[in-house]
């Protein structure tokens, strides 16, 4: 790991000022993506701005008809939160499937979303549920937030402060794990929302998380696994690597989407 200067701001405003002042600064919270990358010397930020001590940035609460999760809320807290379990159980389950227990004690929702790893779990939930990413500057809809591999709409001095999830009628996330890394080889999040149905896929797309509109239209007519029979996703544009070919991932998307709808309908 190369040398850097460590900053521990007490407020989001201070953190943002540090980012403005130090152009190549990186934000850290749990550090479970950034530190491994820095150890490999794939990243060498001269400044680290630690958000993990900013008070009130890790809250979990219902606000009106939305579930609001603070940026530095850890995966373990989301997984075990009674508020999340009541509002969107599929989201609590998803958080409980990330990494392992020790990783979940450190990793944060804001970090996962800011990094936008193509195999991360949270992006699928945010896109399928139609969540809003709130930053120190503005509100971003999920559709405009995710912009490709490790790429988001965030500007260099912009910090995620919270994520607002509108409540779905039904939802479920099914993940097919890479046996070694535990990341999603493919993960499908299905959400039946008051006005439509959304199906978001992580782990498979070469441009990161994406929606499957053909599945969504079929499920909007009738929310049942049966309507997905015979529907497939083209393999073009999907990842192909030693863990699985694009065709295999395309196959998994159909299978997991069906299982997700089954799981969601079983949950009432």
């Amino acid at each position: 790991m190369y040398e850097f200067k460590y900053h521990r701001p007490a407020t989001v405003r201070q953190a943002a000022n540090l980012l403005v002042k130090n152009e190549d600064a990186k934000v850290i919270a749990g550090g479970h993506t950034l530190l491994p990358v820095m150890k490999q010397r794939l990243a060498s930020p001269p400044h680290l701005v630690d958000l993990s001590h900013i008070e009130g940035l890790d809250g979990i609460e219902m606000k009106g008809r939305s579930l609001v999760i603070g940026a530095t809320a850890k995966h373990a807290n989301v997984a075990t939160s009674a508020v999340v379990g009541e509002a969107i159980p599929a989201l609590a389950e998803l958080a409980g499937m990330i990494g392992d227990p020790a990783v979940r004690h450190k990793g944060t929702i804001g970090g996962s979303l800011a990094n936008n790893d193509p195999t991360a779990d949270y992006p699928a939930a945010v896109l399928a549920l139609g969540a809003t990413i709130v930053t120190n500057k503005r509100r971003l809809k999920a559709e405009e937030y995710f912009q490709g591999l490790f790429t988001t709409a965030l500007e260099s001095d912009e910090i995620i402060t919270k994520v607002m999830f509108p409540l779905p009628k039904k939802a479920a996330y099914i993940k097919f794990r890479n046996q070694a890394s535990r990341y999603a080889l493919v993960g499908v999040f299905v959400a039946k929302r008051p006005s439509d149905v959304r199906v978001a896929v992580t782990g498979a797309g070469s441009e990161g998380v994406f929606r499957v509109t053909s599945f969504e239209e079929a499920l909007k007519k009738r929310f049942s696994p049966k309507v997905l029979d015979g529907l497939t996703v083209p393999a073009e544009g999907l990842n192909s690597d030693l863990h699985g070919s694009a065709e295999y991932r395309a196959h998994l998307i159909s299978v997991l989407a069906r299982r997700a709808v089954e799981a969601a309908t079983g949950k009432a």
Partner: protein, 161 residues
Amino acid sequence: MAKISLIVNGNPVNANVDPRTLLVQFLRENLRLTGTHVGCDTSQCGACVVHLDGKAVKSCTTLAVMADGHEVKTIEGLAPDGAPLHPMQEAFREHHGLQCGFCTPGMIMTAVDIVHRKGHDLSDHTIREELEGNLCRCTGYQNIVASIAAGAKAMANSDLA
């Protein structure tokens, strides 16, 4: 350099560290607490697990500066020096929950964390799921799981947390 003060195994510690110092390096090299091991150095194997504010974390993926103002417990802190072992350590000895022993400190710290979160009556299934982030290269899981089940029960009747 950065000034840090934290509590390690109940004792206040003040130090000047290079910000890039990992918590595990700080524990092993500055404090000479070499019970915490570095296995993979990539947050996968769990040999470096310590408790940070009472929760299991991988100290190879935590900066020492990030622990400033916090409380750390290592395998050395489970039971006082010269006193009987912590019930989880005792259970690992009794059930031979180790082969080469390299992963053992991390296994035990994770095991204690599991008991804190899941209680004293643990099924084999729960233990195996919860051990997902701890690897034993000798593949000695059978006895590790038996040790944790017994240690969890023993912890119910112990003053040591």
